[in-house]
């Protein structure tokens, strides 16, 4: 089998590599920094928006190398603040959250982690899991096929969606809203 696109980010070192684009999706002045912290397994990278409604994001500036029908997204992340929200996954569009995107969301304003999928026509929804929102580090896997997207957290399948799947090629993203959120591992590949 031929090698397929495969990406790994360790989120370790002086600063985020320049192949990432750092964007203030809403508002301005978000900080994008490696976290000087060795506790709880290591601090990774953090995005801290400047107000509760502001959003900062890292993405590939629409370099979309991952398949909308056969790809995997893996990330170890946590919500570092309350209130705050992180969303991460694969997206076709860095400006419209409701188009061509699969995601896992941890929002302190809600009660449970959610799996989301959005198609090319701004159709989509979030599906709740049984995982309560908190500030713990977890590993999240999104597996996307032509017929479904699944969310596995710490190796347990928690949600499946089989509608509103993306219709175009995808790139990884990590989005932080309203407060500090952190990530220390990301892996994406075509299957």
């Amino acid at each position: 089998m031929a090698y397929k696109q495969h990406f790994i980010e360790w989120f370790s070192g002086k600063q985020l590599p320049s192949y990432w684009t750092q964007t203030n999706v809403t508002g301005s002045g978000a900080s994008f920094e490696m976290k000087d912290d060795s506790s709880q397994g290591g601090g990774g990278f953090k995005i801290t928006p400047t107000s509760s409604s502001n959003i900062g994001e890292i993405d590939f500036n629409n370099k979309r190398q991952f398949s909308q029908t056969s790809s995997m997204f893996i990330a170890t992340a946590r919500r570092n603040a309350n209130p705050a929200m992180f969303s991460m996954g694969l997206t076709g569009n860095i400006t419209n959250a409701d188009t061509n995107r699969i995601l896992v969301q941890n929002d302190s304003a809600g009660s449970k982690f959610k799996l989301g999928s959005y198609d090319g026509s701004s159709g989509g929804a979030l599906t709740s899991t049984t995982i309560g929102v908190d500030g713990n580090w977890r590993n999240h896997k999104l597996e996307l096929t032509s017929s479904s997207v699944t969310l596995t957290v710490n190796n347990v399948l928690h949600a499946t969606r089989d509608e509103n799947l993306p219709a175009s090629t995808l790139q990884p993203y990590f989005l932080s809203k309203g407060g500090e959120n952190g990530i220390r591992y990301m892996e994406c590949y075509n299957t």
């Binding site: 495969h6 360790w10 370790s12 070192g13 002086k14 000087d36 060795s38 397994g41 190796n155 591992y185």
Partner: protein, 210 residues
């Protein structure tokens, strides 16, 4: 089905801890990841990729100078539970002319004898490759059975709350419980020269929390 790197590195159901893997290939060292070289003594310290087979990166210093390459004090590794793997060498077998220490350290500076660190060492006036540990209370040099040379060796250092070990080329060579670091740490490569210039050359460095 393509397997993830994640599943190959982490036991099923566990959450990945901080890790970094540096293969030192390309036309320049990754300056997003690594900070500028810090001149500890003199100003000749330099970092460059080697244009040679298995050359990796070269941290060099001129006569009587010393320098260090690290993460600009972004310290994500836990002194109570972490480790490193390094494939590295010194370019001089003369024990008076070159010193390579590579491992994990708190400060991005020349604080070694009262600094917080764990590293391998091909050091001054020491004919044996050693494990070097340090804290504010002092340092410990634990010698291995290997005589210092200019060959690449694979070093694996591990540390927990009671001991530190150094495995060289797959053989456990050094264990100590003395002067273990007490602060969070960052990866580093350090080189010091005697009366002639020398280099620490490294082809691989991996650091991880356990």
């Amino acid at each position: 089905m393509t397997k993830s790197i994640y599943d190959q590195l982490n036991a099923s159901g566990t959450v990945a801890k901080q890790r970094v893997v540096e293969t030192f290939s390309g036309d320049a060292v990754d300056t997003d990841r690594w900070g500028s070289i810090v001149q500890i003594t003199g100003s000749s310290g330099a970092v460059a990729m080697n244009d040679s087979v298995d050359g990796g990166v070269k941290v060099s210093t001129g006569a009587n100078d010393e320098a260090i390459l690290a993460f600009d004090d972004i310290r994500q590794f836990n002194h109570l539970a972490c480790g490193f793997v390094a494939v590295t060498r010194t370019t001089t077998s003369n024990i008076a002319q070159g010193q390579n220490r590579t491992g994990i350290k708190y400060d991005n500076d020349g604080t070694f004898n009262a600094g917080d660190l764990i590293s391998m060492e091909c050091g001054y006036s020491n004919s044996s490759i050693s494990l070097f540990t340090g804290s504010a209370s002092g340092f410990e040099r634990t010698t291995s059975s290997l005589t210092r040379d200019t060959s690449y060796h694979s070093y694996k250092g591990l540390i927990n709350n009671s001991s530190a070990t150094l495995t060289i080329d797959g053989v456990l060579e050094c264990t100590t419980s003395t002067h273990l670091p007490t602060k969070k740490m960052q990866p580093f490569i350090y080189n010091a020269s005697g009366s002639v210039a020398s280099s620490a050359e490294t082809t691989y460095l991996e650091v991880f929390n356990t």
